[in-house]
């Protein structure tokens, strides 16, 4: 069966291929160089039987291309809070920027939205939804824990590795061309809510 070009670039089995679609933002001469190098590496690999240089090349190119996709906001200062408690005595929250929301809530505006949604950890799976058009959401549609590790956190709580899993947790939709509202309003608001609930540590699943 012939491989369709679209299937190839969408193939999530290989991390580099998930990024190669962004070649469209790469200058033409670099695209030519990319395919030239890829061709030669493949010829070599077929002769030697060692395909790892091809993998490595694709990984490197994938990273290079991904770095161009959208230049993130830069900050000079790194916020820092030392974490001194034992994890087994701590309250932990798992957040995401993956656009997850609960049925009945207002979906995120996928053209840019700095609001957030509360996600109770006991939300039935069939009530979870996702609104985000700037990443491949087929994974999260199949299993929310691919981006929002809420059930894995509950597992760790049940096993005593984590003191308590914070509920509700919070979800953002990471495509925010103008992040001033996030920086000034909703970011601090969610941080305050987490602090008020006694949360010691936060893990954010970014997409």
């Amino acid at each position: 069966m012939a491989i369709e070009k679209l299937d190839l670039i969408k193939n999530p089995e290989t991390a580099p291929f998930s990024k190669l679609k962004y070649l469209k933002w790469t200058p033409e001469d670099e695209v030519a160089e990319f395919f030239n190098r890829l061709f030669h590496l493949n010829v070599q690999a077929r002769e030697t039987g060692d395909w790892s240089p091809v993998d490595q090349f694709l990984e490197e190119q994938g990273d290079k291309i991904a770095a161009r996709v959208a230049v993130p906001m830069g900050f000079d200062d790194t916020p820092w809070s030392p974490f001194k408690k034992r994890l087994s005595e701590s309250k932990v929250a798992a957040l995401t920027t993956g656009g997850v929301y609960v049925e009945g809530q207002q979906p995120f505006d996928t053209d840019g939205d700095w609001s957030y949604r509360e996600i109770p950890l006991d939300t039935p799976l069939d009530q979870l939804r996702v609104a985000h058009t700037h990443y491949d959401t087929t994974g999260v549609a199949e299993d929310v824990d691919a981006v929002l590790a809420m059930h894995r956190l509950l597992d760790m709580e049940a096993e005593g590795m984590v003191g308590e899993a914070q509920t509700p947790t919070y979800s953002f939709m990471g495509y925010i061309p103008d992040p001033s509202g996030l920086i000034e309003v909703t970011g601090p608001e969610v941080a305050e809510r987490l602090k008020a609930d006694g949360v010691d540590g936060v893990v954010i699943g970014t997409t």
Binding site: S18, P79, A146, A149
Partner: protein, 82 residues
């Protein structure tokens, strides 16, 4: 996070870089062991990261790891160490 340069530019306090496809930061859908390994790595960084802005790149090769075994080894080591 998907790449180190992004984590560094944004000056995140602690960053965990996975060489996974976009949109699957904790791992593949339907692979709870993989998701658990990554969540534990992230939570471990809360206390083990010493300096602001530390970014760790994990070596996991997407689906080509036995995450169940990683967890089993990790947890048996932990209980033996306690």
């Amino acid at each position: 996070m998907v790449d180190r340069s992004r984590a560094e530019t944004m000056s995140v306090p602690r960053g965990l870089v996975l060489r996974f496809p976009f949109g699957r930061p904790f791992g593949a859908p339907g692979n709870p062991d993989q998701q658990r390994v990554v969540l534990e790595d992230a939570l471990t960084m809360l206390s083990s990261a010493r300096d602001p802005g530390e970014v760790r790149t994990m070596p996991y090769r997407w689906r080509r790891e036995d995450y169940g075994r990683i967890l089993a080894e990790r947890h048996s080591g932990m209980s033996a160490g306690l």
